[in-house]
Symmetry: none
Subunit: 207 residues, 4 copies
DNA sequence: TATGAATGAGACTTCATTCAT
DNA sequence: TATGAATGAAGTCTCATTCAT
């Protein structure tokens, strides 16, 4: 019995190459965007032959998928871990948010791949989103000046609102349930008063 | 020597073709997704020759761009109109949300193009988002059961949260300002307590 | 009998339009080159509709053909006329040459179409010809300095030699008759001693 | 981690493919003419895939350019070599002419591509040139019969004259310098008396 | 395992020509 | 006679994937 496992050595090597490949891909993809990155580019960045690429991943999409999946899994783990430290649900929420932004800061490269440019399609959406963010920011600022809204960081909230509606609508159009009016009310309620059962109700605000 | 104004007849014909083209494009794109739609498909759906397509739009992208831009513009108009009917900023917000979902219901086709499938890239993001939505829903439900969160429609809120973070992070990674910790706090604050200056503060909930 | 010819009026009009068309085409073709000129461009320049173009010429090539043919015919006429004024064959030759360059000066536009750019093919040939012209010029100049050649205008002669060989070879390769050696001798003889039966033999050049 | 030198084996293969491609291209282009030859035709003739073509040449034009350039370079080399063998400028000239026709005989294929058909444009020019060649031949023959011109091979000289003027005019119209009259005189002089400083001046031709 | 030359389906775009008005 | 919208065949180039070495 000379070897722990017959092929353990080569297995390890293969795994290492795989990781190097993934790392190289991350860099190239973040740079050029998904659609402008050719398999040849990734192979070149990893310093391997094109053919070799296919020994590790069956398709270009598979690599991308693994990249995103792995990242998503890692994020989920960190969120879970952060929440697990807390008992109270409000604290869990807060902890998760901190974990989220730490993760984002540590994984800019992958996030840039996902949200990045190099794709007419995405480029366009970004522009449209930007327009709505600007619009939202304007109304938020006005509302805050008038004392109707609390003075939160305007740009952050504006982005939050736009993202919120984009995702909600993309889910909702598939079913149109609950009815539009109810959706609008739920969203309004959520945005105005938040999730917390206990309002801020700082000293009952008796004026 | 030549009249400057082409016959109004041919003008009309051209305009009609243009409309048919746009309508056909909308349908095909919503069906097959942007990337799986060939110019030839659109032409066929509009029952015109391939070359004719290029009489109206210089490229495939241009058509798509016009479609999305026009839709975005229309949405913005309706939001503005809805808000203009109200004085109070809270009411404006609510009105905009109603307008938004009416619009969504009335423009499912275009929205499906934007958020739809037919794109490995998007497909993948959808899956990842779905995972996080499920995760969020779980925690929300638990929090609601425990009385930490108000009983809002769980799926809606879960989608809202995920969309919120996706958009916020895609904006934030470009600058990493404000710092991560502050981002987390702002988001937590927003989500827990909402925007409203006046909390719900229903009769202090004494039981 | 009201009209000379039933349709004489319209016939005349048609002929005039045809001429205008030709003139407009001349300008556009000289500008953009044959291959870069679309029928639509010609029609626009002539201020007529694309369809109208086809009432006067069956194809784009036909117009071009007419243009070149007409020009060639005109040139031939002028050469013939010039030669007819002279009795002596040497004088005829000289007269033709003068007529030729007068014509060229007066018809630069059409000549530019024929020899002009806007065609990968031609562009390339021009470059190659230019190289050989430069090469020939160099040798001619050297030969003249050494007193082997008469002091004629170098650039002109260099171009003449290159054009001569290009045309001769393009004719000769189709048949390879007379044999190569004889071709070389004929050309050498022609170039060195010219056509004239009576050599210059200016006062026996006794020094 | 990767060797910098690809296996000499694959290098060889690549070179071989390159040669086959060039050879096939030469044949097809000579057959069908530049404009009637599709990249697909060349690929088929070389028995390779269309995509493979683009591994060797970035565009169809690039191949053509290389073909012509290489040929032109080769011709120039042979002319230079031939001239280098001689001291006297007259002998150099003669040597170059012999080299030229040898080369033409050995490279008919490429020359046919350059001067060949398959191009409305060229076709047309050929016809026009042919007309002028016929015209020139007629006058030359007449002049010879009358003893004004030396009895050289008529067709050769006729082609030479036409090519000469075509090239000279295509150069001259760009600048119109020297003036037309001088051009005519230079050309006449060249054609009648040739380049040689020493006229034939065989025993004063006393009859 | 590693390589990179070869593949070829596929998509876009152009433009001479037609034809309904 | 005049128009210009419509046509669609044709041709170029790309790139994920395969496969012989």
């Amino acid at each position: 019995m000379r070897l722990d496992t017959p092929t353990s050595r080569s297995q390890q090597r293969k795994e290492r190459t795989r990781q190097e490949l993934l790392a190289a891909a991350k860099k190239v993809l973040a740079d050029k965007g998904y659609h402008h990155t050719k398999v040849a580019d990734i192979a070149a960045a990893a310093d391997i032959g094109v053919g070799t690429f296919y020994l590790y991943y069956p398709t270009k999409d598979a690599l991308f998928l693994e990249l995103v999946d792995a990242t998503a899994r890692k994020l989920k783990e960190q969120l879970d871990h952060a929440r697990a430290q807390e008992n109270d649900y409000v604290d869990k929420l807060r902890a998760a948010h901190h974990a989220f932004f730490s993760f984002a800061a540590a994984n800019r490269e992958v996030l840039k791949i996902v949200f990045g440019h190099g794709n007419t399609f995405h480029e366009l959406l970004r522009r449209v989103y930007a327009m709505f963010v600007a619009d939202a920011a304007e109304h938020l600022a006005a509302g805050m000046r008038q004392g109707a809204f609390r003075p939160l960081h305007v740009e952050t909230v504006a982005n939050a609102l736009v993202g919120m509606f984009a995702q909600v609508v993309s889910w909702w159009i598939e079913q149109e349930q609950p009815p539009a009016a109810m959706m609008a009310e739920t969203m309004t309620d959520l945005i105005l008063h938040g999730l917390a059962a206990q309002p801020l109700c700082s000293p009952p605000e008796r004026e």
